[in-house]
Symmetry: C2
Subunit: 225 residues, 2 copies
């Protein structure tokens, strides 16, 4: 859906085409996911309108959408706050993410082209570079993009959208929890296994690794909740 818009062109023209509320959804979502607006932040409409340069109408529309995505909490007559997922929600979300990725594994192993697989392997190598360089942010980004990549290889748009939404909800928690470099090495080993399984087109093995990876992800982040 958004591919054509986001990939193409200097974006300024494209952005002008979008409705204001859609722009606000995108912008505000980023502010939340990236942590500029950390969990628990109270959202003052007038104030945020000022900084975003829009009136309250499109902002409020955007808040409702983000609430339905689980990024914002709306309390009647009391306004919006940036949602802080409970430990249980994080666990539940990780379980579902694992399930979705295991599902994707089957289709990815069946449908992916050799070049697509090679591409993902290349991303994995770049991730290793950042790991060795102790660049936590870039390491994390590529880590996520490998998971998104496996999902994408399945070629199921519903799956892609769902995965994106869930990943967004707990992206920050995962990043914050992933603070001890010794944790990374376990994660790296699992990623090695993933790529190997994908190259062997072994869906069962890939699925198992992905589910295991999510269980371990829980162990890695739970201390931060």
């Amino acid at each position: 859906m958004q591919d054509a818009e986001t990939i193409a062109a200097p974006s300024t023209l494209k952005i002008a085409r979008r409705s204001l509320h859609a722009q606000v959804v995108v912008g505000l979502r980023d502010l939340i996911i990236e942590g500029t607006l950390p969990p628990g932040t109270r959202i003052n409409e007038a104030q945020l309108c000022e900084t975003l340069g829009v009136s309250r109408t499109p902002l409020r529309e955007a808040l409702k959408v983000l609430a339905s995505e689980g990024l914002v909490e709306l309390t009647p007559h009391r306004g919006a706050t940036v949602r802080r997922p409970t430990a249980n929600e994080v666990l539940d979300t990780l379980v579902v993410l694992g399930g979705l990725e295991a599902l994707a594994a089957e289709y990815a192993c069946r449908n992916a082209t050799p070049s697509e697989i090679a591409e993902l392997a290349a991303v994995h190598q770049r991730m290793l570079d950042f790991y060795r360089a102790q660049n936590r942010l870039e390491y994390f980004k590529l880590n996520q993009s490998i998971h998104s990549g496996i999902i994408r290889l399945a070629g199921n748009h519903t799956l892609i959208a769902l995965h994106d939404t869930l990943q967004a909800r707990i992206k920050r928690v995962r990043f914050m929890g992933n603070d001890r470099p010794e944790q990374w090495s376990n994660s790296i080993a699992e990623h090695e296994e993933m790529i190997a399984a994908l190259q062997a087109r072994d869906a069962v093995r890939l699925g198992a690794v992905l589910r295991l990876h999510m269980e371990n992800a829980w162990q890695r982040v739970r201390h931060a909740l």
Copy 2:
């Protein structure tokens, strides 16, 4: 989330507590899912405001939310229409639903109490009654509620919410496609197997049946697209 609100009381009082836009989301969602507003219907804001008795502001907020749920399509400067899922989207959605239910199977077999399982078996029996009575609507409702029930037994709220959203998107298509009674009998056999697997707490078997059931569901509905 909505349990406390929807289950309790004559609702009038509770509804008054909700914000207008939330009411409209619920009401409009039902109109779409139940088919009162069939796919492709152009939504005239002023007109719908009239029938719902609200101003355009809450209605437009609701439309944005329903768009993010995939039930409504928003075209800039051209308004909203009730979304008609493409054949591919229906297939993709069924695949994901199957994956989610198979995931739920594991947890349901592990965590469900005997009485919960018995309850689901009872629903299955009631479904059979409606099958024998050729009551398509009630048969269909109980059929769906068995799937929702398995999801619920997993005790994962994220999973429940996701499943609900996806089920809502294609509920109408599935109902329309399920028009030949001879199709029902296959579906019934699969449901028998599900209940048996659940009673045996055989997660592997239950997962397999659920995935198979979704593949067959696709065969049953594809002709209607």
